[in-house]
């Protein structure tokens, strides 16, 4: 007998989340490139926007992306101590705690936003992160702000 699939499970299975990633040029973007060079496969649910440093990432970038319907937002930068500009990632980390609070206050699950450190040599870690985060956001379901776009 075929296993009964609940409406909820079906919704989770069919839903393809769309995740916006802000990556710093020197570490995380390079890590994403290395995932490619190494041919590490990951689901095509993320779109990367390159900035020079995570220090550049204004909290409004994250909030705007969510308000426009992104199902998740990733901010990825250099490991602490590795910032190309010495301390941009520390500034981002400080900001991130209030980004989380702001996200929660507008009624979005804070787990939809993540801050991760990925070095230029961590292609495998990047691919694993995309896989993991895609699943995590899939479980959360579509963003309440989702408008039209479908990455299928």
């Amino acid at each position: 007998m075929a296993k009964e699939v609940s409406e909820e499970e079906k919704r989770v299975e069919e839903f393809e989340p769309l995740i916006v990633a802000f990556c710093c040029n020197w570490c995380s973007y390079a890590g994403a490139d290395l995932a490619g060079t190494s041919r590490f496969e990951y689901p095509p649910n993320m779109r990367i926007i390159r900035v020079m440093c995570t220090g550049r990432i204004d909290p409004t970038f994250v909030l705007e992306a969510l308000s426009m319907g992104a199902d998740g937002v990733l901010v990825a930068g250099c490991h602490p101590g590795d910032c190309h500009y010495q301390k941009g990632n520390y500034m981002m980390e400080k900001r991130f705690s209030y980004i989380k609070r702001a996200v929660e206050s507008i009624g979005i699950e804070p787990d939809r936003v993540r801050l991760e450190w990925i070095s230029a040599s961590e292609g495998g870690k990047f691919a694993a992160l995309v896989r993991e985060m895609t699943e995590q956001v899939r479980q959360l379901g579509p963003s309440p702000f989702r408008l039209t776009h479908d990455p299928k």
């Binding site: 496969e41 990367i48 020079m52 220090g55 204004d58 970038f61 301390k87 941009g88």
Partner: protein
């Protein structure tokens, strides 16, 4: 009036690298229908001669004022495409890339349809940003043809002479009374066994008498300001302060010959337990006598302990100095994991010298690992021929030193081959200690804003591609300040650093970063937050308004994100440009509004 964007889109097959997964013709057709796109084509290799020619031709033919290339990563290919734009008369900053290979076709090999959809998204996002791009200018900076070399050891003197011989004025400073650094204190150098004085003395002589070198002993760097080509340094010595104006700086302030703490391997407990440096002194003075046996122990205070990533993550967010103090503190507690490269050869050198002075002395080298690279292998064989005994001990159980009732030393270790305990009565025990970073370097690094690596040494800009550059333009590193090196390696790095500095000074000018931050004076309230957070000291508050000195700005954009009045715009990565990409992705139909 702003000209209407006319974007040309060039989509690359990259052979089968992209075209084998992403439907490139379909993506090109899609691009043609996007707003602002005046022209789109696909190429087998956009980076080829033919591909670049196609870009240039299309710029002219279709009067394009923006170019998007969808291909590989901007980290490798942006400069190439930018210069193609420039050759066609377009400002190179009116160019944008979509990465549909490294971040699309290569990672979604088994999902061609979704990969194609993603490629379309990425192209649309790039077009949205391209439409908003503005021309940027790389400011040109004058470079003074003078250099400051910090440290007059073998590396510093070599670098200073190399630049002085090319006609550049060099200020060479040394914190000690005498130049020569660590090498001057050594007896003989491996693998040639020449007296160190044969290498150092001619350098001291040449550097001291060169008309282009101003040598200052007992002098240290007190203050530094400025930027590439225009550094103002305040030097301090017992005679007072002196200001020098230089175009480049070479940091060559060396490393520390590590002295073990009291009690480590009974050092300073038994007076016959000495360091290799002290044995070197005994050999130099020729008062070794005729000892029956000398035991050497390798890796004393090296290759032990490790920095755990969690430790690093727990480091403070404040400034570099605090980070460095923590690194140094962690080192003290956990050991120093790196290999110092030179200690094995130093031990073998001293073993050979002992055999020369006293052939009947039994020399035993206890090691966990022996590293004798390149031609040094011959030196190791020479020691074996002289019957120096190399015994590998079990790494987890370091040798133990005790004193026998008759006052001699006894070294006990576990032989890793037999697994058995071995005991050596010994007249002397020599400890091979590593080169370690100096605390003084920490201060230099902090002042000069050069990052420090996890081993505590100054960090190069790129381990392989830029080994003597630092992250600060115009400042270079030579010798052991960036990690243990032997004499020949120090000289190589010194000559490399001098060559890098000479390129700048010879050209007399350098192009600076165009992607910098700019302040809108009307919005700025002069709160000073940007001044506080900038790691490069670029913003300056004057008359209650912030002004960002372009030439100091490195373009991270942190000030733009932090500014409470949103008065700071990051060129090429402006709020509107980044958000246009976000919007183009999430609300595709919004692209129409971008240019308006």
């Amino acid at each position: 009036m702003k000209e209407e964007p006319r974007v040309g889109v060039f989509i690359c097959h990259c052979g089968v690298n992209i075209g084998g997964v992403v439907n490139v013709p379909e993506t090109t057709e899609y691009a043609k229908k996007l707003p602002y796109v005046a022209y789109a084509e696909h190429n087998l290799y956009t980076c080829s001669e033919a591909g670049l020619a196609a870009i240039k031709k299309a710029i002219e033919e279709y009067n394009l004022n923006r170019v998007v290339v969808a291909s590989c990563t901007p980290r490798t290919h942006e400069p190439l495409f930018r210069s193609a734009c420039q050759e066609a008369g377009l400002n190179p900053y009116l160019f944008e890339m979509a990465n549909i290979r490294d971040q699309c076709s290569w990672v979604h090999v088994h999902e061609p349809e979704r990969a194609t959809a993603k490629a379309k998204d990425l192209v649309r996002m790039a077009v949205a940003k391209a439409a908003l791009l503005e021309p940027q200018i790389e400011p040109e900076v004058e470079v003074r043809d003078t250099s400051l070399v910090i440290g007059a050891g073998i590396a510093g003197m070599t670098a200073a002479l190399s630049m002085a011989n090319q006609g550049f004025k060099v200020y060479l400073i040394e914190r000690e009374k005498e130049p020569g650094g660590i090498v001057r204190k050594l007896y003989k150098l491996y693998p040639t066994l020449v007296d160190s004085s044969e290498v150092v003395d001619p350098l001291i002589e040449a550097a001291g008498s060169h008309k282009n070198i101003e040598f200052m002993s007992s002098t240290t760097l007190k203050e530094i300001s400025g930027y590439v080509g225009n550094f103002d340094a305040v030097l301090t010595s017992p005679d007072g302060d002196k200001e020098v104006k230089v175009g480049t700086i070479i940091v060559a302030c060396g490393a520390l010959n590590y002295r073990p703490p009291m009690g480590l391997y009974q050092y300073e407990v038994y007076d016959k337990v000495i360091t290799q440096e002290e044995l070197d002194g005994i050999l130099r003075r020729g008062n070794l006598g005729k000892p029956e046996r000398i035991v050497m122990i390798q890796c004393v205070g090296a290759r032990k302990g490790e920095i755990r990533p969690s430790e690093l993550e727990a480091f403070p967010r404040s400034d570099t100095a605090e980070l460095l103090r923590k690194i140094l503190r962690a080192r003290k507690e956990e050991g120093w994991p790196y290999c110092s490269r030179i200690c094995c050869m130093n031990a073998i050198k001293n073993a050979i010298l002992v055999k020369e002075q006293s052939p009947r002395t039994d020399v035993v080298i206890l090691f966990g690992d022996l590293r004798v690279y390149k031609e040094y292998e011959d030196f190791y064989r020479k020691a074996r021929d002289l019957e120096v005994r190399f015994i590998r001990h079990v790494e987890e159980a370091p040798p133990e030193i005790t004193q026998t009732p008759d006052g001699r030393l006894e070294v006990m270790a576990y032989d890793s081959l037999s697994g058995l305990e071995v005991k050596f009565p010994a007249d002397w025990v020599a400890l091979s200690t590593p080169l370690r970073p100096r605390r003084g370097e920490v201060m230099h690094a902090r002042m000069l804003k050069i990052p420090i690596g996890t081993d505590g040494f100054l960090m190069e800009a790129h381990l392989k591609l830029r080994p003597v550059d630092t992250n600060v333009d115009g400042i270079f590193i030579a010798g052991t300040v960036s990690g243990p090196k032997d004499v020949s390696e120090s000289i190589i790095s010194a000559k490399a650093a001098a060559a890098r500095a000479s390129i700048l000074m010879g050209n007399r000018k350098v192009r600076a970063e165009a992607i910098t931050a700019v302040v809108d004076e009307d919005l700025c309230i002069g709160c000073g937050l940007c001044e506080e957070i900038c790691p490069y000291g670029a913003p300056r508050i004057e008359n209650q308004k912030s002004e960002i000195r372009e030439i100091l700005c490195r373009g991270c954009g942190s000030c733009a994100a932090e500014c409470p009045r949103r008065a700071i715009t990051m060129r090429h990565f402006g709020d509107h440009q980044v958000l246009a990409q976000v919007k183009a992705l999430l609300i595709p139909e919004s692209l129409e509004e971008v240019g308006s």
